[in-house]
């Protein structure tokens, strides 16, 4: 099991995101307390922790949506913290994020939502954008839904549109914020399969914030746990399963009781 310390031999090569000594306060609440984390390129990393532990806050720091009080974030070796305007947008273009509530623009159709980033970039023709939209919607199993409005879709379908929108931008890194929360088991399984495919087939770097341990074990090859504003432990799913850290044991005990080690 890898502890809090980072592998000294590891260089920036192969590291997609590196978080160093991140601190963040919210209204007197010290949410992130000197958090360190490395995300390797081409891997799927699940960040787990209880509600309010700061998982989503960490994710928003990684993509530059929130600024830290102190600490640094590097994306492919380039420092993100302190960057604004065009420089920040250039780094943000390497990311895509799938939001917990999907965050689809309700005034736009599914097709317009998926193609929004490409349309606004104005690099591709209308036909090229439409082709990409069709391809990405097919990838998430939503062929022919281009003209529907987000209000006409179920929660699971909205999540899949959110994933299609993220994929349309062809990002290097995809961040998932609670991708299976609020979904029925069948739909959650489908989203898990999609995320696993992104890593296995498309070789995308993915970061998945979740407290759904089933999803974390199925989709990731690295799990890190946030507790009291820090990463208290990280490692492969197998190492995580066998951890003797009492906090982790307590966190996954319910899952252990209901599940088996099958597939780990």
């Amino acid at each position: 099991m890898v502890g809090i310390g980072l592998d000294a031999k590891e260089t920036l090569n192969g590291t997609a995101i590196e978080v160093r000594q991140l601190h963040r306060w919210f209204r007197g609440n010290h949410v992130l307390r000197g958090l360190d984390l490395k995300i390797r390129e081409g891997t799927a990393t699940a960040i787990v922790g209880s509600s309010g532990a700061g998982k989503s806050v960490l994710l928003k720091h990684m993509i530059g949506l929130t600024k830290p009080d102190s600490g640094s974030i590097f994306v492919f070796g380039e420092e993100l913290t302190g960057k604004t305007g065009m420089a920040l947008e250039a780094i943000q273009r390497r990311f895509a994020m799938v939001f917990q509530g999907s965050a689809l623009l309700n005034s736009l159709t599914v097709g317009q939502n998926v193609g929004l980033g490409l349309t606004e970039e104005r690099r591709l023709s209308r036909k090229q954008v439409d082709d990409i939209v069709r391809e990405k919607l097919a990838l998430v199993g939503l062929e022919g839904k281009e003209s529907q409005l987000p209000g006409e879709l179920s929660g699971g379908m909205k999540k899949r549109v959110g994933i299609a929108r993220a994929l349309a931008m062809d990002p290097d890194i995809i961040l998932f914020d609670e991708p299976t929360t609020g979904l029925d088991p069948v739909m959650a399984e489908r989203i898990d399969t999609l995320m696993a495919d992104l890593k296995n087939k498309l070789r995308k770097t993915t970061v998945i914030v979740t407290h759904d341990m089933d999803s974390a074990f199925k989709t990731s090859d690295h799990i890190a746990m946030i507790y009291e504003g820090k990463i208290i432990e990280q490692g492969s799913p197998e190492e995580f399963w066998r951890s003797t850290n009492p906090t982790i044991e307590q966190f996954i005990s319910r899952f252990k009781r209901h599940g088996t080690e099958e597939g780990l």
Binding site: M97, F99, A103, L105, N106
Partner: protein, 265 residues
């Protein structure tokens, strides 16, 4: 010696200080947003697909209520001034009073109030809903600047449509005034129009239009800022909308007073 926060005076002092700090922070943020919006106006021709619908929306949403308000304000102005002027045998001067009142003050201020209620509130509610449902964050992650995508089109639409609406409101108000002058005081239309032509100058109309354009800037920036600054849940959307409407009203009244005073000196 007791701590400042434990006495009644101390608590009031701290609350006042916090209020002032919040006010100046908000004004500072709005100034920054205005500067960023003006910079993004360079991309107007690439974003006409967003600007033109906003302009159409302001016109279509405001026109019916603007017509109703303007015509009745014209009626009342003519009625009130007509009664007073009749005592001096000056009913033919109703046209001057109505047209000058509409062009200098009532046209721009009434239109601003209508647009704040119809459009400003809707802008804040829409953007605040987008903020709390992470749609603004989603735009950023797609490499779309929210100021370019959301604020700039609304800013340009308000800036251009407010003066257009004011011209319309002035015209309808004057027609309303003419109708009451004829019906209640027997002033012929031609006499009313000649009186308006004699007294109403291009400068009066232009000053009203400049005021309207500035009101458009105030309404769009305040409405967009309150929407973008909204955090929390859906409950915050209503609060943000109320704040936006109140802030816009107060800003318009204050600006109107000082500009009018400046122009009269």
């Amino acid at each position: 010696m007791s701590e400042p926060g434990k006495t009644k005076f101390g608590r009031c002092f701290i609350a006042l200080g916090n209020g002032l700090l919040n006010f100046f922070q908000t004004v500072g943020e709005m100034s920054q947003l205005l500067a960023a919006t003006i910079l993004w106006c360079r991309a107007v021709f690439k974003n006409l697909d967003k600007v033109l619908p906003q302009m159409g929306k302001i016109g279509a949403d405001t026109l019916p209520i603007a017509s109703l308000t303007a015509v009745f304000v014209g009626f009342v102005l003519a009625l009130q001034t007509g009664v007073a002027l009749k005592e001096f045998g000056q009913e033919e001067s109703i046209g001057a009073v109505v047209s000058l009142s509409m062009a200098r003050e009532l046209g721009p201020v009434l239109t601003a109030i209508l647009v704040i209620g119809r459009i400003g509130a809707a802008i804040t509610a829409e953007i605040a809903t987008m903020s709390v449902s992470e749609e603004i964050d989603a735009l950023k992650t797609l490499g779309i600047n929210p100021v370019r995508y959301l604020v700039m089109p609304r800013f340009l639409a308000c800036l251009t449509m407010l003066p257009v609406l004011v011209i319309y409101v002035n015209l309808v108000g004057m027609i309303g005034g003419a109708a009451v002058s004829k019906a209640n005081f027997g002033v012929p239309f031609m006499v009313y129009i000649e009186n308006v032509e004699e007294w109403l100058t291009f400068e009066d109309i232009a000053k009203g239009l400049v005021k309207a354009a500035v009101f458009g800037v105030i309404i769009s920036i305040v409405s967009c800022h309150r929407g973008l600054a909204t955090v929390g849940g859906p409950g915050e959307v209503g609060l943000a909308t109320t704040n936006s409407v109140v802030f816009s009203f107060v800003s318009v009244y204050i600006f109107n007073y000082f500009v009018t005073r400046l122009w009269l000196e």
